[in-house]
């Protein structure tokens, strides 16, 4: 049975494996925000879609892009409600998960900073690393203090990341799917995961490529400490380093696979270009690049809402990735065999025919960007 099938078959508690315990009252609050998000993604989005279609039928308008659809969508009676719920459900979620983590602050902080006995992997922090201004100045995803400013924030982020996927990413199935279906088969010796966070995107590479050296880098010391701790607990050999994706300081041609999961949409354009250039430098000839991120779908309503999501969810550079052609940029820095494909995160994986999954509900437009050196 593949790791993916095994994970699917498991019937774990949604918060199993997390360091923080979630008391029942907090669980109820988190559950409520999850219910709110489900209702928003299903019922409210469907009603907004109905209003949008009715408005097009009334006016004969035929917007071709998200930008063209903007003035129409903004004039719909439900748009304000949709937008409000998106931002404020997220804020309610952070409040609920922060309460759970604050209640155990002392224990969690001590656990995070306790040395891991006999580690099979490693952790290298760089207290001298200057965090870029764009990173320090943005509370990405509206998380108070971001993921980097305090140890507790790593736990808040980990718990929040469980909730955001509407309960559909328990045991991080999404990341396993990307690892198993988004990355071409190969005899990889060295794998680098850029912006690895607390390691949920990095760990599946150890399972799929057990002979490879797996390395994860991130800017945030708290999440790297959590990543190291969780990886060791799960018996995954990973080397974590506190480094910037655009300036990793690893030698030329030292990896066969460079990946980034849910990272590049947070990067300003100059940083994105430098990151892709750095990935190219790090790869050996024939090495692979695999990036999971967002792209526009061609559905003007969804694309406009996604552009607005950038603002509503404190992701100020995300609109750039939706407006440019990331495949063209990837070719520009030297990659060949570049492809940008819709990615069905609910089980289908990359869609080679280029079509987006037909769904009635709101979902993030995940896409796979891949290339070869």
């Amino acid at each position: 049975m593949s790791a993916l099938a095994a994970a699917r078959a498991s019937d774990a508690h949604p918060f199993a494996g997390l360091e923080v315990t979630v008391p029942s009252e907090t669980r109820a609050r988190i559950d409520f925000t999850l219910g709110l998000r489900q209702h928003w993604a299903n019922t409210v989005f469907a009603a907004l879609r109905a209003q949008y279609e009715a408005r097009l039928a009334e006016t004969g308008a035929r917007p071709r892009t998200g930008e063209e659809a903007g003035p129409i969508v903004e004039g719909l009676p439900l748009y304000s409600t949709f937008a409000w719920l998106e931002r404020n459900e997220q804020k309610m979620k952070w409040r609920a998960v922060t309460v759970a983590c604050e209640a155990e602050r002392a224990r969690l902080e001590a656990a995070l900073n306790a040395p891991v006995p006999s580690p099979i992997g490693s952790l290298e922090l760089d207290p001298a690393l200057r965090l870029p201004d764009y990173y320090r100045n943005t509370e990405f995803h509206i998380q108070p203090g971001g993921v980097w400013s305090a140890d507790l924030n790593a736990f808040v982020y980990e718990l929040g990341a469980k909730v955001i996927f509407l309960g559909k990413n328990d045991d991080y199935l999404f990341h396993r799917l990307f690892t198993e279906q988004g990355v071409p088969a190969g005899d990889y010796r060295d794998i680098l995961d850029l912006g690895c966070g607390f390691g949920k995107s990095t760990r599946p590479f150890v399972d799929r490529f057990p002979g490879a050296r797996v390395v994860g880098i991130d800017l945030s010391a708290p999440v790297l400490k959590l990543a190291h701790r969780q990886a060791e607990k799960l018996g995954k050999r990973i080397a974590f380093h506190q480094r910037a994706a655009e300036d990793t300081r690893f030698p030329d041609a030292s990896f066969d696979l460079v990946t980034a999961t849910m990272v590049i949409h947070e990067l300003p354009m100059p940083v994105l270009r430098r990151t892709l250039t750095e990935a190219y430098r790090l790869l050996r000839p024939g090495g692979r690049l695999a990036i999971l991120d967002y792209h526009r779908t061609g559905d003007p309503l969804r694309d406009f809402l996604m552009l607005g999501h950038a603002r509503r969810n404190n992701e100020p550079y995300m609109a750039h990735i939706l407006r440019i052609d990331p495949a063209a940029l990837t070719r520009e820095v030297g990659f060949t065999d570049v492809a940008l494909l819709p990615f069905d995160e609910r089980g289908g994986g990359p869609r080679e025919d280029g079509s987006w999954p037909a769904r009635a509900d709101w979902h993030f437009p995940w896409s796979l960007l891949r290339g070869r050196k």
Partner: protein
């Protein structure tokens, strides 16, 4: 710094915030009462949760079942 607002009258943004806070509180209290009455102490099933949220939020999206008739101006 004021947060983003989405309605023409920002008071609506604030009132909706109050309503959602209260709804969350009611949901948490229901879970607590359920536990005190000998339930599993769990927040309940996803079905019960979604039904609760749908009941609270239905006025935001519903089509009236008995719409007011059109009146002709006298």
């Amino acid at each position: 710094m004021p947060d983003l607002t989405f309605f023409r009258d920002p008071a609506v943004d604030r009132v909706l915030g109050v309503v959602m806070e209260l709804a969350e509180e009611v949901y948490a209290l229901r879970a607590r009462v359920g536990a005190l009455e000998g339930g599993a102490g769990d927040a309940g099933t996803a079905t019960a949760r979604d039904a609760f949220v749908a009941r609270v939020l239905v006025p935001l999206t519903y089509e009236a079942e008995s719409p007011a008739p059109e009146f002709e101006a006298p």
